[in-house]
């Protein structure tokens, strides 16, 4: 079993977001970088759980980014995984990133490709579906449970107001979310081992960007909260009806 796990670097969930250079760039001052939580907690850990059950499993990590992503990919290797591949390209265009991952996936002949359900910076939720489409593979989104039965994967995924179980033959691309695995933290042995695990740097394949970020903007500040006395719920009802007009 060969698993490819996609890893993205994102600002920490508590990061204060600001922009520089005429609102065209994220202000990286004071930002702590983390592994995108969905990539780390759910897809990477689920792959590691599988390897713990079946030690012949090979896990490769792939990331598309500049050299600044390397501490993040080392951190991911400290959790688990055998080798990592960094495609040396910085792009905000989902199609460009997915094309690079698909090229890596094609080379490695993986049985399973895991992504997180989305990244917490661009929130595009597109990479898994695009990789599957480029490779013409089946795709299951928003998976919250995954098991294998021979060459078939049995995957539960979220649907509106419930969940659904699907059976699919490998290879398959899966986007992972809560439920897939239990979050863990790397231990000392993992951190030491990660230092010497292979991290291959690969140049990107040619690809035209289909989209381009022009500018960022912060949302307008809230007007400020209007406080209503706890013994005056009639007033709150009136405000919701007449002012906010939501009920």
């Amino acid at each position: 079993m060969k698993i490819l796990v996609c890893i993205s670097k994102t600002p920490d969930t508590t990061a204060k977001i600001a922009f520089t250079e005429g609102n065209t760039k994220l202000d990286e001052n004071g930002i702590q970088w983390i592994i995108n939580p969905y990539d780390e907690w759910y897809s990477l850990v689920r792959a590691i759980e599988h390897k713990e059950k079946d030690p012949t499993t090979i896990i490769h990590l792939v990331t598309v980014g500049g050299a600044d992503v390397e501490p993040i990919i080392r951190k991911a290797l400290a959790l688990g995984g055998d080798e990592a591949i960094r495609v040396n390209l910085q792009s905000n265009d989902s199609f460009t990133v997915a094309s690079q991952i698909a090229a890596v996936a094609k080379n490695g002949a993986y049985d399973l490709i895991f992504t997180g359900k989305e990244t917490i910076d661009y929130n595009s939720a597109s990479i898994g579906s695009m990789v599957a489409a480029i490779l013409d593979l089946p795709y299951i989104s928003l998976a919250n449970h995954f098991t294998l039965n021979g060459n078939d994967a049995i995957i539960k995924r979220e649907i509106e107001g419930g969940e659904e179980t699907n059976e699919v033959s490998l290879p398959v691309v899966v986007s992972c979310q809560k439920g897939m695995a239990e979050q863990r933290i790397p231990n000392m042995r993992g951190i030491m081992a990660a230092r010497t695990k292979p991290l291959h740097v690969q140049e990107p394949i040619a690809c035209d960007e289909t989209t381009q970020v022009m500018q960022y903007e912060l949302p307008p500040a809230k007007q400020g909260v209007k406080l209503v006395a706890p013994d005056n719920m009639d007033e709150l009802v009136r405000l919701l009806k007449e002012e906010a007009k939501v009920i």
């Binding site: 989104s141 509106e160 809230k222 009639d234």
Partner: protein, 317 residues
């Protein structure tokens, strides 16, 4: 032509798709073209009614195997339909099915894609779409450079608007590729409104102290006809089911009204609800960070305030 992908479930067209139709109709008007709809699968819903959201035609691939989401198959059918119909812009709702399908269709049509769009594109000079980024903490304007463009819109960003078209329903047929996945089981929460489709949501946090205290919240939700949600520690402790967990690592919602009860308003929680139109916070701690993100606030004990609010709603009818 602007082609809007229409999703249906439980014998009805999804409200997020009706919103996408309204958005598509407005964009078509802006571009001076027509807005048409594409429906896959079978549904008893009256498809010509999509005219009420501005569709001039509804293209219908009435094959019941397409009712189930098989991304590989359904995205192929959508891309072929778009090509046959010469669509230049495709609109999806950025909901569970839209998130899975739109990127695959984009690959097949070599189309630039913006997901999580929050308003109509600017089209005077190029084609620029604004989307939410950093989990609702910011917006990005994104230029789409390809001839065909795809937009997946955030729920409740545009609203459902009435138009007075009568849409003509036109059957379409294709050779449907063989399925790539086999659905073996569907488990639905009975009688509950799915959170992502709800326009009113009542949500509870650790301040409610335990699952046995949820009655006051459920009564309020019932009185309002609202769906229920919760903070992450609440679902992690199994006080409430996991599908109610909203936030950065849960479901992201954008209802018209979000009432937060005994929730502190941690940044990861806000990331899931900050696109709500109106936020009401009920918390006994006046320093709770949630008040900064709220429109209306009540500083008080939830165990008194919530039943009083339910009673006030009853009285106001």
């Amino acid at each position: 032509m602007v082609l809007v992908y229409i999703d249906h479930e439980d014998q009805q067209l999804k409200s997020s798709s009706l919103e996408a139709m309204s958005y598509g109709a407005a964009l078509a008007k802006q571009l001076g073209v027509t807005a048409e709809a594409l429906v896959l699968g079978t549904t008893p819903a009256t498809l010509s009614d999509l005219g009420k959201q501005g569709a001039s035609k509804v293209h219908h691939v009435a094959v019941d195997t397409l009712n189930h989401l098989d991304v590989k198959v359904n995205s192929t059918v959508i891309a072929e339909a778009a090509t046959q119909l010469n669509a230049t812009v495709l609109i999806f709702a950025h909901n569970i099915n839209g998130k899975a399908l739109a990127p695959a269709v984009a690959v097949k049509l070599k189309a630039g894609l913006v997901t999580g769009a929050s308003s109509l594109p600017k089209t005077e000079n190029g084609f620029i779409v604004t989307k939410t980024v950093f989990s609702g903490k910011a917006f990005a304007s994104v230029k789409i450079a390809t001839p065909i463009k795809i937009i997946a819109i955030n729920q409740n960003c545009y609203g459902i608007h009435a138009a007075d078209n009568v849409a003509e329903v036109i059957p379409m047929s294709f050779n449907i590729p063989s399925p790539s996945v086999k659905m073996t089981l569907v488990e639905k929460v009975k009688g509950e409104l799915p959170l992502t489709e709800a326009s009113l949501v009542v949500s509870g946090g650790r301040g409610l102290k335990g699952p046995e205290n949820w009655g006051i919240l459920l009564d309020l939700a019932k009185e309002l006809g609202a769906a229920t949600a919760c903070s992450r520690p609440v679902s992690d402790s199994d006080w409430r089911p996991h599908h109610e967990h909203v936030g950065q690592t849960g479901i992201q919602i954008a209802p018209n009204l979000y009432i937060a009860i005994g929730i502190s308003g941690a940044i990861q929680h806000l990331a899931g609800v900050n696109r709500s139109k109106t936020i009401v916070v009920i918390n006994k701690d006046p320093e709770a960070p949630f008040f900064k993100a709220a429109d209306y606030g009540v500083v008080g004990d939830a165990f008194e305030v919530v039943p009083a609010l339910t009673a006030a709603l009853k009285n106001s009818k």
